[in-house]
Symmetry: C2
Subunit: 507 residues, 2 copies
């Protein structure tokens, strides 16, 4: 990158914002992995203060002046140069936050605290009415928020733009229609087959062996422990405090082995993305989401999810992977897995079994859970669905798509934490990740016919290097669509995903 003084001045201001946001990430990681229960209240205040400080630094007149100067300095550089993008993205973030009044942010934060408590109670009692008044307020504030950000066709467009710039209610509707018509026959075919044996997955698997296998697997996939850690949490996640300190967490269920294995593979995928960002982008806009005020190096939530899904499903949830590595797993659990072979294990972890819970869903039913939530979010945002009617709608869609009768709200509309935290518009990114992962894998295979041979041999560094070069190193420099056009020659395309699923589950 050029070392122009005005650009350096802007970068210095942005670096400070970056530092504060990364500190927020450390505090969040700590609160979910290490913090004693007593610390919760003051930790919330610390995070709120730092988030406000980051926003204030971003909206300070000094940033505005540095931006004006830097814009002049980068004139004439290529439109997609890192320098131009740095300046442009800072400008966009300043504009975004300038449109949202601090009072609205405070209202949302205050609501989040009570809404989360109500959601926890409501879910425990499986009583939607405890949570529904707070959800009504959440939707109301989300609409105000969308109005501040601005939208033309649908208020949902503004919310989605925070997580997945470029997607809209309309574009998602089109995507989902294609997916639905493609998925249904694959799901039907898969369900018509006899269920494989899976009883052995539910035996007693002590945490120690799960952790040892998970760590070994993450390192095989390329996760660098000199720049990372693996810890235990209730809800697994990945977080980075710069590319050189990227942490992942998992959860060990003694009574169900796949949860930690595929969970760890998933978070490893996220972690690889962050560890692979160009070092030159450290502490810049290209390594931090200044719109979402969230320290993340990936270009969009969907792009990030594409990497977790790619490693989780295309690499680890594959016949090839278990042919190679099942013996290692067996060594950790000689008694529990003594009567099982690699093929049986692979068939068990790819069995199709429609259920109520999104996070436990198999590859063929997962997207139906997402489409349901996005449909509901859109309808809540445009007012065509009342909060009071939510459970009935939810249960009807689950019946229609998966043929299941939702027994209670805890297993239905109350299962996800998202809405209680004010997150509206992030669900689509899970499905976009699935679609994008398959699209990228297809391209990589076409461009390098030896790739599969290497993967079959347990050699994952070629795949990681290809992804690093084509995707990870760019951080947030390119928009998701731009990246897909550059690397795959086309926009987001569900065809490779449907083809992958068909081959795997109905082939």
């Amino acid at each position: 990158m050029t070392s122009d003084a005005s650009l350096a001045a802007l970068n210095e201001r942005v670096a400070a914002v970056n530092d504060v946001l990364n500190a927020v990430s450390v505090l969040t990681w700590d609160s979910r992995t290490m913090m004693p229960p007593g610390g919760a209240e003051t930790r919330g205040q610390q995070i709120a203060t730092l988030t406000r400080v980051a926003r204030d630094l971003l909206l300070a007149p000094e940033t505005e002046r540095a931006l004006d100067e830097a814009e002049k300095a980068v004139e004439g550089l290529a439109e997609d140069s890192a320098e131009q993008r740095l300046v442009m993205q800072t400008r966009q973030a300043v504009a975004h936050h300038g449109r949202v009044p601090a009072s609205l942010i405070q209202e949302r934060a205050a609501l989040r605290t009570v809404a989360q408590a109500a959601w926890i109670e409501g879910r425990a009692k499986s009583d939607f009415s405890i949570f529904s008044p707070h959800l009504e307020k959440t939707i109301k504030l989300a609409r105000s928020y969308a109005d501040c950000i601005g939208w033309s066709e649908h208020p949902y467009d503004a919310m989605v733009s925070i997580y997945e710039p470029g997607e809209t209610a309309a574009s998602l509707k089109t995507l989902f229609a294609t997916l639905r018509s493609g998925l249904l026959p694959i799901l039907e075919a898969a369900r018509s087959r006899p269920a494989p044996r899976s009883d052995f997955l539910f035996r007693d698997f002590p945490e120690e062996g799960q952790r040892a296998f998970g760590l070994s697997m993450a390192q095989k996939l390329g996760y660098d422990l000199r720049r990372g850690r693996l810890d235990t949490t209730v809800h697994p996640f990945e977080v980075s405090f710069t590319r050189n300190d990227v942490r992942i967490t998992t959860r060990y269920n003694r009574a169900y082995l796949p949860a930690s294995i595929f969970g760890t593979a998933h978070e490893t995928g996220h972690g690889l993305y962050e560890q692979g960002v160009d070092p030159a982008y450290t502490r810049t806009t290209l390594a931090t989401d200044l719109v979402g005020l969230y320290a993340v190096g990936g270009t969009s939530f969907g792009a990030h999810e594409s990497q977790s899904r790619l490693w989780e499903n295309h690499v680890v949830r594959s016949r090839t992977f278990w042919q190679l590595h099942f013996p290692e797993l067996q060594r950790h659990f000689p008694e529990q897995l003594g009567d099982v072979d690699a093929e049986a294990f692979y068939r068990a972890v790819t069995r199709i079994e429609p259920g109520f819970i999104r996070v436990e869903a198999d590859e063929l039913t997962y997207d139906f859970h997402i489409m349901l939530r996005v449909e509901i979010e859109c309808a809540l945002m445009d007012g065509s669905l009342a909060v009071a009617d939510l459970p009935a709608t939810w249960n009807a869609v689950i019946k229609r798509d998966l043929g299941l009768n939702v027994p209670d709200d805890a297993k239905g509309v109350l299962q996800d934490v998202h809405w209680s935290t004010g997150y509206i518009g992030s669900f689509p990114t899970y499905t976009i990740g699935n679609v994008m992962a398959a699209q990228i894998m297809e391209t990589l295979r076409q461009d390098d016919p030896s790739l599969d041979r290497a993967i079959e041999g347990g050699e994952y560094s070629g795949l990681a290097e290809a992804l690093r070069t084509r995707m990870w190193q760019h951080g947030r420099r390119f928009q998701r669509e731009e990246l897909l056009m550059r690397e795959t020659g086309r926009s987001l395309d569900p065809a490779p995903y449907l083809s992958y699923l068909k081959g795997k589950y109905a082939g």
Copy 2:
């Protein structure tokens, strides 16, 4: 506390500074316990940014305005009321930081980075000349710093005032003269006795048993794990992120059992102080050192050290303690300690053995290590000692006081990290802690004749409650001398300390 609106406005500003400083503490704790090595560089930048943000918030015109208003609001309240002290201490902190230019802070921070690296190399090679040019610059900057803060008699006074307000080069000289003349005969008497057996302390003690005993001991002393944690570090410390999240660390040496036991007892004492601060002081000046920009609830470094020393030496390093709890330690190490009884263990952990290393020193020689360092710091600050002559002076004093020939600089002048980090003036607080601990214990015993009976019975809650009421709850409300006058009826007095040591080691 009153709920006056102008005071509330000031407290809100101070609360934000508190939040940022507590975030710094979280980042520091993480860097010393959890952070993968790759994270070091960006972590340093994050901490520097947050420290700057805290200072900027403190020096902002809004704080000044809030201070002016709050000063009017508390007029008429008692001079030592929490409200008056809150306002007064904020005013002092603003004045302090207003006197120190940001450029000097940056110079010191920049020097710290290279000085620490040079110190590490110098110590590894036992070559003072690698570190000495950086120490010269450190002293030069410390003098500039002292001049900014202001001093009348000795530049060292300004440095000490950061850690131990009220102490000066002159007051320390007086204190040390009394200590020296009191300590020397006790040390001589102790050294003339036959050394007790201590070989069993050096057997192989696996970490698991050390940790289990340490955790159990900390809880016996009153440390609340719902508001705390015990982790492992190279250099043990205590840190609080508010009274409800107070963490301690220790180090396990397999080949020397006492290190973790007494280290954990020491940090537990610090932790109890923080956990005992009045909840009403959370996020106020009375729970954070705004002059040192360090989130600490104790009234001075010396007062804090008094609590760690009290629990470490007066409680845990006592015959009574081991008569009661040695069987528990034996259960953790039945083979290693099978041939030892409580009395032999007590005698081993109170043996007197002059050595080169401060952190390994026994109770009778520890203060000589401190007096040496303070003498040198004063002479460096006033220019009467050149950095080049430091090793010769150091070695001569060790010879004079302890009768030992320092074999190399690593075991001499290069052993402590303090000077490489720019800390000048904090050493006296260790000895002040020793003195103050004995003074407080004496008063508590006089005021409650049943206290020793309870402690002999393994009941420590009465002692903790007395300390909480008399000291911990007040946080930083009272100055150290004020607290001593209130609770013991006199200023810092070395007599109880010398009497305690005489009874224990020459009785």
